[in-house]
């Protein structure tokens, strides 16, 4: 008991001293809450979606790994499939102004219309605040949060880390796998993977 108290103190001290990147989202822990402004002008609070599954999709429309998912229609298909089953899907744009993937509200709305994208909303995060909160490293980088607000998946969209459209059909999609298993009351077999893609094009001054 003594040891565990001491350990907690050490951990608490360490947490205070750690840089923000360590406090990022982790599988098995509460998803960090955020408020985001969407391209449709609405404001979304993650905490309002307790009771629902939430998917976060880090996006950069110019990144070849993202284009693979959109040009193949795969991302739109996933968005339609899962929002159709009551899942809340946020596409998050953390590119800073002037960098690849930065879009203002109008541009993002045009992009979504053109691509027939169907997320619940596209959150504009040019400051990178939400991105850093989740330590989003790549586009795409995917997170799944369960109805209790706990992160149950953090990582790649699938198991084919390439830019090839031809790799989409044969890939195992980790987001669908996590949602299917969690909804069936099972534990998520593959809960953490290495996300692959372009680095998130954060603002140089952020952080």
């Amino acid at each position: 008991m003594k040891r565990s108290t001491l350990y907690s103190m050490v951990v608490a001290l360490a947490l205070c001293a750690m840089p923000p990147l360590v406090s990022a989202a982790k599988v098995g822990e509460a998803a960090p809450d955020f408020t985001g402004t969407a391209s449709n002008g609405k404001t979304f609070h993650l905490a309002d979606y307790r009771g629902k599954y939430v998917v976060l999709e880090w996006h950069n429309n110019g990144c070849p790994y993202v284009r693979k998912q959109y040009n193949s229609g795969n991302m739109q298909r996933l968005q339609k499939q899962w929002t159709g089953q009551g899942v809340v899907w946020f596409t998050v744009l953390s590119s800073a102004p002037g960098k690849q993937g930065y879009l203002n509200a109008g541009e993002e709305n045009d992009y979504m219309a053109k691509e027939q994208a169907a997320p619940t909303a596209a959150l504009l995060d040019p400051s990178g605040n939400i991105g850093h909160l989740y330590d989003a490293k790549t586009s795409p980088h995917m997170f799944v949060i369960n109805p209790q607000g706990v992160v149950i998946y953090d990582g790649a969209i699938d198991d084919k880390p390439t830019t090839e459209l031809s790799d989409v059909p044969g890939a195992t999609n980790y987001v669908s796998l996590a949602l299917e298993q969690a909804m069936a009351g099972k534990s998520v077999a593959v809960a953490t993977t290495r996300p692959y893609g372009c680095s998130v094009k954060y603002s140089d001054s952020a952080h």
């Binding site: 982790k26 110019g62 990144c63 070849p64 960098k99 790549t138 290495r194 372009c198 680095s199 952080h207």
Partner: protein, 315 residues
């Protein structure tokens, strides 16, 4: 025979102008061939790429069965742009090459020079190369190789080129005509020095007197390096590049501490690390010591270590 060294290049890129550009590039390459020059490079996003040799037949005068020789993929990138190491780190991916070779020639794996740490942001660190880099690929010729005529080798390359602000996919098709058999008069390639310098910079096995150990802690791996009696060695900083993805946290500071006869590095475990690892492999770059070392160290876990009574002896 000078034109035997020419590099025929075509290029594919997904841009609207690529058709025109390809014709232009191809024309330029042919022109260069005709004049005997061979400096043509295939355009890649924000740079050029060449498939080159260092004229391995200089010694033996031809490529013969059983011979090993090197070819190289020579990347020259504009300032601010990079390509990736075999372990790209947090994002990106290394160049991938698909060889089309005549019967009797086999390509080995790319020999990766020591990379650099590319800090993309405070939380994203990649490993790769900026500026100019030569990726050497060993080739092996076996008795099936027809030795009476020149032979062409082709490489299809896919790569990702990035800056801090954007990433662009690239594709290049390269070919190179190798003199086989009696082409004795091949001039020495201007690239011979480049190959030699690149080989010099390869990570190499560390001196046998140096002892390495890795202890697994809860959140980190502690790498201890005992330099024994190596003289004149003042190591004040070191950088470790993990060969495998998802073992150590790329963006975490690598804590360096001098200890008796050497130093210790604390490498934070990756959040993506799901299973214990048996060995830690990677490239270790030491400050003040103009050399990188390839290390491969078994990982001891705390309990196993105390039970088996492992001690680290200072030499």
């Amino acid at each position: 025979m000078r034109d035997i060294l020419c590099i025929k290049i075509t290029m594919q890129e997904r841009s609207p102008t690529s058709g025109f550009f390809r014709v232009l590039t191809f024309g330029a390459a042919l022109l260069l061939c005709a004049t005997g020059a061979h400096a043509a490079g295939a355009p890649i996003p924000h740079g050029t790429l060449e498939l080159i040799t260092e004229n391995p037949w200089i010694e033996k005068r031809w490529i013969a069965a059983g011979q090993e020789f090197d070819v190289g993929l020579y990347f020259q990138l504009e300032k601010g742009w990079h390509i990736y190491w075999v372990n790209p780190g947090d994002s990106g991916e290394p160049p991938r090459v698909d060889w089309h070779l005549p019967a009797g020639l086999t390509a080995g794996a790319i020999e990766w020079p020591t990379p650099r740490r590319l800090e993309d942001s405070s939380s994203i660190v990649d490993y790769g190369y900026e500026g100019a880099v030569l990726l050497i690929v060993p080739m092996h010729a076996d008795p099936r190789l027809a030795t009476e005529r020149a032979t062409e080798i082709e490489a299809d390359l896919k790569l990702l080129v990035c800056s801090h602000d954007m990433c662009i996919p690239g594709r290049a098709q390269l070919s190179l005509t190798l003199p086989i058999g009696a082409h004795a008069s091949a001039p020495r390639s201007r690239y011979a020095g480049l190959f030699a310098d690149t080989r010099k910079s390869f990570p190499r096995p560390p001196p046998t007197a140096w002892k390495f150990s890795v202890a697994e802690a809860k959140d980190s791996f502690v790498l201890t390096v005992n330099l024994g009696q190596t003289k004149g060695l003042q190591i004040t900083q070191a950088v470790f590049f993990p060969l495998a993805e998802s073992q150590t946290e790329n963006a975490a500071a690598q804590k360096f501490a001098p200890v008796a006869s050497g130093f210790q590095m604390t490498l934070r475990k990756s959040d993506q690390l799901q299973k214990p690892i048996a060995r830690l492999k990677g490239v270790l770059v030491l400050s003040g010591w103009d050399q990188a070392y390839l290390i491969d160290v078994p990982v001891s876990r705390p309990r196993a270590a105390s039970r088996s009574g492992i001690k680290i002896h200072s030499a």
